[in-house]
Symmetry: D4
Subunit: 155 residues, 8 copies
Amino acid sequence: MPEVLIILGSKSDAEIGQKALDLLKRFGIEAKMLVASAHRTPDRVRELVCQSKAEVFIAIAGLSAALPGAVASFTSRPVIGVPVSGKLGLDAILSIVQMPPGIPVACVGLDRGDNAALLAISILSLSDKQLAQKLAAYRQEMADKVENDSNEVQA
Amino acid sequence: MPEVLIILGSKSDAEIGQKALDLLKRFGIEAKMLVASAHRTPDRVRELVCQSKAEVFIAIAGLSAALPGAVASFTSRPVIGVPVSGKLGLDAILSIVQMPPGIPVACVGLDRGDNAALLAISILSLSDKQLAQKLAAYRQEMADKVENDSNEVQA
Amino acid sequence: MPEVLIILGSKSDAEIGQKALDLLKRFGIEAKMLVASAHRTPDRVRELVCQSKAEVFIAIAGLSAALPGAVASFTSRPVIGVPVSGKLGLDAILSIVQMPPGIPVACVGLDRGDNAALLAISILSLSDKQLAQKLAAYRQEMADKVENDSNEVQA
Amino acid sequence: MPEVLIILGSKSDAEIGQKALDLLKRFGIEAKMLVASAHRTPDRVRELVCQSKAEVFIAIAGLSAALPGAVASFTSRPVIGVPVSGKLGLDAILSIVQMPPGIPVACVGLDRGDNAALLAISILSLSDKQLAQKLAAYRQEMADKVENDSNEVQA
Amino acid sequence: MPEVLIILGSKSDAEIGQKALDLLKRFGIEAKMLVASAHRTPDRVRELVCQSKAEVFIAIAGLSAALPGAVASFTSRPVIGVPVSGKLGLDAILSIVQMPPGIPVACVGLDRGDNAALLAISILSLSDKQLAQKLAAYRQEMADKVENDSNEVQA
Amino acid sequence: MPEVLIILGSKSDAEIGQKALDLLKRFGIEAKMLVASAHRTPDRVRELVCQSKAEVFIAIAGLSAALPGAVASFTSRPVIGVPVSGKLGLDAILSIVQMPPGIPVACVGLDRGDNAALLAISILSLSDKQLAQKLAAYRQEMADKVENDSNEVQA
Amino acid sequence: MPEVLIILGSKSDAEIGQKALDLLKRFGIEAKMLVASAHRTPDRVRELVCQSKAEVFIAIAGLSAALPGAVASFTSRPVIGVPVSGKLGLDAILSIVQMPPGIPVACVGLDRGDNAALLAISILSLSDKQLAQKLAAYRQEMADKVENDSNEVQA
Amino acid sequence: MPEVLIILGSKSDAEIGQKALDLLKRFGIEAKMLVASAHRTPDRVRELVCQSKAEVFIAIAGLSAALPGAVASFTSRPVIGVPVSGKLGLDAILSIVQMPPGIPVACVGLDRGDNAALLAISILSLSDKQLAQKLAAYRQEMADKVENDSNEVQA
């Protein structure tokens, strides 16, 4: 049974979702990626969320980007929203970040499927020490890569 | 039974809704104003919309303003969205106007409960000649008022 | 005689208008697409709108995008405005959505000729049960496609 | 007969128009201020512009601010547009400045009735040497005031 | 020992932090509120975060709002960022939401101390069934309040 | 001796300036195009403007776009500013349009060298009936082209 | 003879300039505050800058905010620009920050006369060890104040 | 030992950093370019800044662009921030320019590595007359180039 459920508002967001999926799998987390539109299939969103045993939800959407908020309306488990870039830069960010009082969504950066996965991992690490260690190691790896990059840039 | 259903995302939007309600009543249209939050009460939104016999819906919301889109996800009757102003000007406008392909919302201007009502009246006038005449008269009145205003400004 | 009149502010908006036209025709609605500029041919806009028997108008324009408002100034029938994207994202959206009190325009999303057509169909469905059924079927089709997309994404 | 015609999109813009009127009168230019809405009274705009002998038009409007463009659509004489501030800062500016090819409007700053008048005076000065001298004197006065302000600030 | 650490970028953000604190305490969560500036006291931020046993961090900041990202740079536990409104609406939102790949921050809405607390509660609920029940009850309360509000609005 | 002086802030703006130049020449107006940077060559701007006999100035610039205002600071003849598009859409528009009280610039749309020329022609037409007739003819041509475009679109 | 020259674009910016002046004086730096408008008094700006012996310039302006760039066009000494807030938040920021290649301005935050002074002090400290020590002490004081604020917030 | 330290937030910013480096070297200034991420390697930023003898720092970053502020938090020597363009234009600009009171960053334009170098040179010129002369010569060269460009444009 998946621990993280990734829901795409549209098939066109699959590339961003895949980044999240790959990272979650690399950390050994069970994850599943589905498409469900808040506007075209509201009942499907409701059903998927209410039946899911996922501990964390990642919802990815562009434009008016109602999906993360719709997911959050059906669960009190953590929902991470990923705004998708398009002709306007701000629409999806503002739609996801400006949630009303009472129903939070954790918004990450534009097209940041990777950070959505890392935030989910961070949340799941609270009750899983091994995962926390893997995450710390991953961050150390990133830090090391910065030093390598620095050497290349200077060369 | 109401012909137009006005749904507020929050009680704090009541003043804008009231403008719509007053105008609808002035035109002899049955209308009802309720509160239902897309995020706090998604099932209530679903229920209200699916059980409603309203021909036109007016949904009024600020911030991430998912309500108009949520209403539109449950009905193929026309849905008019009114963005409500707040600390940012653009969030509610972009959340309402940038609907994805397939599920349109008719977005009117910031805080324009009045125009939402007039758009609903315009839609209902297509099959109601008397209403169309009242609307034409109302617009003539507005035009006359402009001339009066002009005289005052010159005085 | 057409039921929906599509007016383009410029020939360069034809692709967006064509999406609306195709969708209207698929639903068996008579529609016609013309070019008339609010700024270059104000009298032509006036004449086309005043002589038209169309029940719904779709006006498509970019930049300062005065066309939808100009159409609305000559008719009290419903006018749907489609903002066209360009170097700035916001100009056409704000020009169309921020109509003054008294003269509403129903603004849909950036470049959303398709949603303009679907909103027109939704309005015309109020007095045409067959059309309403077709629209319901179309929406079911979209919902089914989401499920198919979901299966593809998971494969 | 007035040399400059000031048209307000709404009586609420009168204060900004008055600044333009006062400045024009101070320079001995005949000017008249009227109200005419591009959306509520399109025919009135047409009539006022087409019958006017004004050499320069100043059109003042907020929100979707179609008035300056509407005036420009009926005359090839210079049209100066003044965007009026409101809940959003950008709507009126973008609506006025982003005119399509072929029909220019000379946009000045937000709420800058004064600069609209000075631009009109600058235009009329091209064929009126005395006016040009008055304008040069006015600008010298402004420059002198800057020096006085500087002394006050240092005191 | 506190389970949630609230860090304010400036004493002037205390009101927003207090909303988070009150809500956390209402749910029986140990929480502590401190001031530490990413720019004025970077070492203090480092020290507070590295020595803290908190499971979730809430960082509240306006303007360039580096604090949430700075906190996240020192821990792989979840960090929730609250942008604070000011003269510009967008600066703090974009500074918090647009984190680079690898170091996520969970951004909530402008001035939404309440939602930051609820997101923290949601995260902590994953391993605390009682807390999850309290959160579900709180959400039910909110939903009930919407119905009450609706009755008042109709009265 | 030129009647219109076109000043480019940078050689890279030459394409936009050329559109203005071509249109001015088509109307038989003497025009000259130069490069002078408000920031790199402030004295050159001063000298060019103060020595010029041009009746109208067109200043074309991107980014912080100080050139139109700099030109206007040295002359009380009409100055038309053309904002040039770049990575941000709004910088040049706001820099040109938001002139302080006392020194107006006539701002036209983004990259609209053509409209700058037409505005200059409109200004010069006030004292040149033949030019006014040519401008009226040009506008009629544009209107005719709209009708032709409409026929093509329908075909 | 002053080491820092503060130039205000308008007397209305004096309060922001005063903050810079006070801070500079507190650090024992000679400073002088004048008014000179890039648009109303371009020659005065030129003269003040060219005759000044100041090592650092602080230019404070709102709206199209050309002053900092104008100052920088006449000197290759460091110029710090302070954007002043108004009806729009972004105009002055973008006008100051988006300088073209070759002529930098050091832009600080909206209305941040204090930070302009501190940046000037930081620059002057490079060749004045005592000043550098005072600045370090000032920063320590700020850091201490954060701890005090933290204690108050917790009390 | 380097006089200017250029720090990139990411290897992908190297092209912008290289422009700064080349210009600094052309002026005979010792400079070094490194990568250090405020978020991925906060301790590395601290260490590099605290151990550096550089007189001026240039920090280059996109997105939430915390690097320039992070550098400034560890030194009271001048820090120049270069915002890097991306999907949104405004995020990096606002993150860098809107620093809180007490810790200034000198923000230059989007992607303006060149202007960052010139600002650093301008600062270093205050205590190095030869450098000041080279800078004056460079600016004269730029001015001459404008005249050449002008001749080419006219040809």
